[in-house]
Amino acid sequence: MKKYSKDFLRQLYRTMLRIRVCEESLVDPILNGDVRCPVHLCSGEEAVAAGICASLNETDYIFGNHRSHGHFLAKGGRIDVLVAEIYGKETGCSRGRGGSMHLIDPENGMMGAAPIVAGTISLAVGAALASHIRREKRVSVSFFGDGATNEGVLFECMNLASLKKLPIIFVCENNFYATHMPVAECRPECDIADIAKPFNIPNVRVDGNNVLKVFETAKEAVAACRDGSGPFFIEAITYRLRGHVGPDDNIQGTHTDIRPQEEIDMWKKKDPIINFERYLLDNDVLSESEVSEIKREIDQEVREAHVFADNSSYPEESELNAYVFK
């Protein structure tokens, strides 16, 4: 506890809360049809993005996936350009050409995201390769889900990265479901961290709902990578409180009929933000009034982001052909 500054802990809390409030602010717009692109909410998984990114510098690289609002924000992205992108506006981070699944912010090292499962892992290896060639000590992080561990390219990537000692951290966010399919139906064994062992890659399984544990693990991984001892593999155990896509939580008995209510209830008790908030209050890091103030600030930032998106224009029809080539 003592080894963290108050500012650092407050910042971790703020990072997670910004993600959660932003995600939940999209629920109604999705349901009433104002948001039309596919949106994969990461409510419940905020501690992974926040903990990992807190260990990185601005110049370090991250690559995301279909569920990357949290990665984008944790790496320093602005909420207003994120929300505008989701609404398909010209002011969005991808100028309305990408939508929720294609978020980018190169100035902050967020190099992009893509929904082809495991499709960005090799790209992150490439960023690490660039860093290695230039002797820069920049670290690259690949965020992917448990579903991606069934794609062959991940294994090619671990082999290549280990062979060339590249500064990459493979971060598997294991939320136990690949869209509708429970991880136990995808794999004969579920200790995902172990898949890194045959490639001589240090691997750690961590409670992905405990932001400080994620941060400590990430710090170790980043230090190894900067030291030339990369790559590193982190399996972060977490859970999405919403469904695979859209606000639906996929409770059994509803039309999507995937997850048991008891399972969801159990994970709600492990909510990474509520638990961290309690921890900060119990340890006198933050007072009740400070927490309220942070919540008020973030609510306002998110509200303003929606106003910004609402007031922004759609891309010009005359610019349909723009950006095919540079």
Partner: protein, 329 residues
Amino acid sequence: MSLNNRKLQYSLAANEAFHQMMGEDESVFLIGQGVKSPWYVGNTARGLLERFGPDRVIDTPVSENAVTGAAVGAAMSGMRSVVVHPRMDFMMYALDPIINQAANWYYMNGGKLSVPIVFWGIINRGGEQAAQHSQALHTILGHIPGLKVVMPSTPYDAKGLMISAIKDDNPVVYIDDRWLHSTEGVVPEEIYEVPIGKGAIRREGNDVTLVAVSFIMRHALEAAAELAQENIEVEVIDLRTIKPLDKDLVLESVKKTGRLAVADSGWKTYGLAAEISAFVFEEAFDSLKAPFVRVTLPDLPAPASSALEKLYYPTTKDIVRAIRGMVNK
């Protein structure tokens, strides 16, 4: 020997492009299976490893998907990547990073990050290698928005187009044919660019426009010479780039000759010849005096046995016969 008349092999022309571009720009690097092995890449990579070291001349395990993706990711992160697939057939493992990622990245991210990469694929036709060692798959890639596709037929273009491809800020697919590697031609020693998207007229004529590219250009020129003996004057266009197409060059020629023949070393259905014919039909229909003809591979996999191979690959005779038929109609 004067500087500008120096002759060089096609493969060494590409090699010179690598030496000069890697020497000039530290962000350029070469990665792929066999880059240190002449068995894979002939002499195209000669001297590169010794000069630039294993950090910039990276031989890799057989992991086409990851290696190509890594080359794409490095290009997003400030490098200029050249990734080689010594047999284009194996490049099919890498279609996700090429098509889903690299080709779309600039557009789907609203122009925030471009991908300066060369996907270099080598076609290895013939030699009884059968269906998985010899495919000419260029039109698959020519179909994809966001990719440029070049196919040099001469040593001069091999160097100039490789330099242009490396300097381009976008993904460029560079396809050559092993059968071209030993051909010789004039190659200037200095760094020069051949513009992407510009074809070249290799022989002038007023009777028929014959469009070809890459290896089959050799047959096209032989056919034109043979037809000239029969007083059929063929204008031969070397496309050099199949995406974006130099439509103006083709249209101007067809408007003059009124006849279009296309020779392609790929398959017929949905192929390069179909695309050329379609846009000529759309944009120069009134100039046409005869139906167009297409000389291509038949729509079947490459056989191994040389008894079948000789029927499979189009020859000079096939082009002569096709053009004679259209002129005498």
